[in-house]
Amino acid sequence: MTSGIIKSDSRLLLFRTLEYGFKKKLMDNAFLNGLKKQGSQMSFAFAKRYYNLVYEPYLRHASYCVLGVINIGLTVSSNNRLDNAIDLVLQKGYVGIFREGWTRILNLVHYARNAERLSHKTAFEWEKDFAESFSAEPGREWIGYDEYLVNMLMYCNSNRGKNGTD
């Protein structure tokens, strides 16, 4: 058995996927340009829904949130594996993967609202808060997936006790 430090790639799964796919010639430049256009359009749509379109910092923040949600969707539905992730990106594009992540967020919102019925937070605010807590800023460590797991554990467990099913 060899003893040594295993160098793990700590970058975002999406970036690793794109780099690997481009290196192996599974994705060409035209495909990547299409993804880029989709990403910018989604950032605009996100900013329009949750902030506003005027201020530049808001647009930047919206793009980080979109990146985070895409990573949640990709990590969960590809089981954190590179080969599955490449297939997913090739099949669904950014929009499909975002929808995977968004479905997870909506589930979380459902559990969280059940768990904290006394709070006056609307579903809209819950969605926004979760998307912000999962946001991924390039150049910084991404803790979105851990956040997702912690939230899921916390709210699902508190739900189970209240319904009397456990």
């Binding site: 910018s40 359009q41 989604m42 506003n52 379109l53 005027v54 530049e56 929808r99 479905t103 909506l106």
Partner: protein, 233 residues
């Protein structure tokens, strides 16, 4: 050779100022002041022409009429027109339903901004030029009308600065100035007052949405927007 160097330095200076405005508009103003000390007003005028109007508006909005920004002396009529067009995009408090007086606040701010650029100008020809530029464009003309929503014309108007009938910096004062500098625009304002009687709330929201449409991006994101927030089965 020297001209090329000058042009390049202007562009790079304006790029630097643009980056500073994003961090803090107060710092940007100090930077412009420092450049003006060294290179002169003409140079700064060229830099401001290269800056986008949004950034200039961000600097101007830090001040009010009583202590105007130093760059308000240097602005050309065209830049002033652009700034007035952009300014509605800064009305963040439109979204604030909790504040009841935010619309009056917006109207006061608009009056302050127009005053700081027009009333502090002593050159009457330049005042006239600015007003002609503003009234030539429909959007900036709508902005100029904003302080006069709900304002009434006084019958006896004499420009007697020894014993003025109006307070300094009010809408009355602004109207007197406009009447002297450019009577044509003053007539437009009076026509507006007698023709359209809308509440302040509607006027401000209309102006905001019009400015928003004018500066809306060309990105077509509606097709994505309809799909992306739909959950997967």
């Amino acid at each position: 050779m020297g001209n090329d160097y000058e042009a390049i330095s202007k562009v790079s200076f304006s790029r630097a100022v643009k980056q500073i405005v994003e961090m803090s508009s107060g710092m940007a103003e100090k930077a412009i002041e420092a450049i003006a000390d060294r290179k002169g007003d003409e140079f700064v005028k060229n830099i401001l022409e290269h800056l986008p109007p949004v950034k200039i508006a961000a600097i101007l909005r830090q001040h009010d009429f009583s202590c105007p920004s130093i760059i308000s002396w240097i602005l050309t009529p065209k830049i002033i027109m652009d700034v007035l067009k952009v300014d509605p995009l800064f009305w963040k408090s439109i979204y604030d339903r909790n504040q009841s007086d935010n619309f009056f606040q917006i109207q006061n701010d608009a009056l302050d901004l127009i005053n700081s650029m027009l009333l502090n100008e002593e050159d009457r020809d330049k005042q006239g030029a600015i007003l002609q530029h503003i009234s030539a464009d429909s959007l900036s003309l709508l902005y100029l009308f904003l302080p006069f929503v709900g304002w009434q014309v006084k019958k006896s108007q004499t420009l007697d600065f020894e014993d003025p009938e109006f307070d300094f910096g009010t809408a009355d004062h602004l109207f007197e100035m406009i009447r002297w500098a450019d009577p044509y625009t003053a007539k437009k304002i009076i026509d507006f007052i007698y023709s359209t009687k809308v509440p302040l709330f509607y006027y401000i929201t209309d102006l905001w949405s019009e400015a928003f449409d004018y500066f809306d991006t060309d990105q077509d994101y509606t097709s994505v927007e309809a799909v992306m927030f739909v959950p997967v089965d």
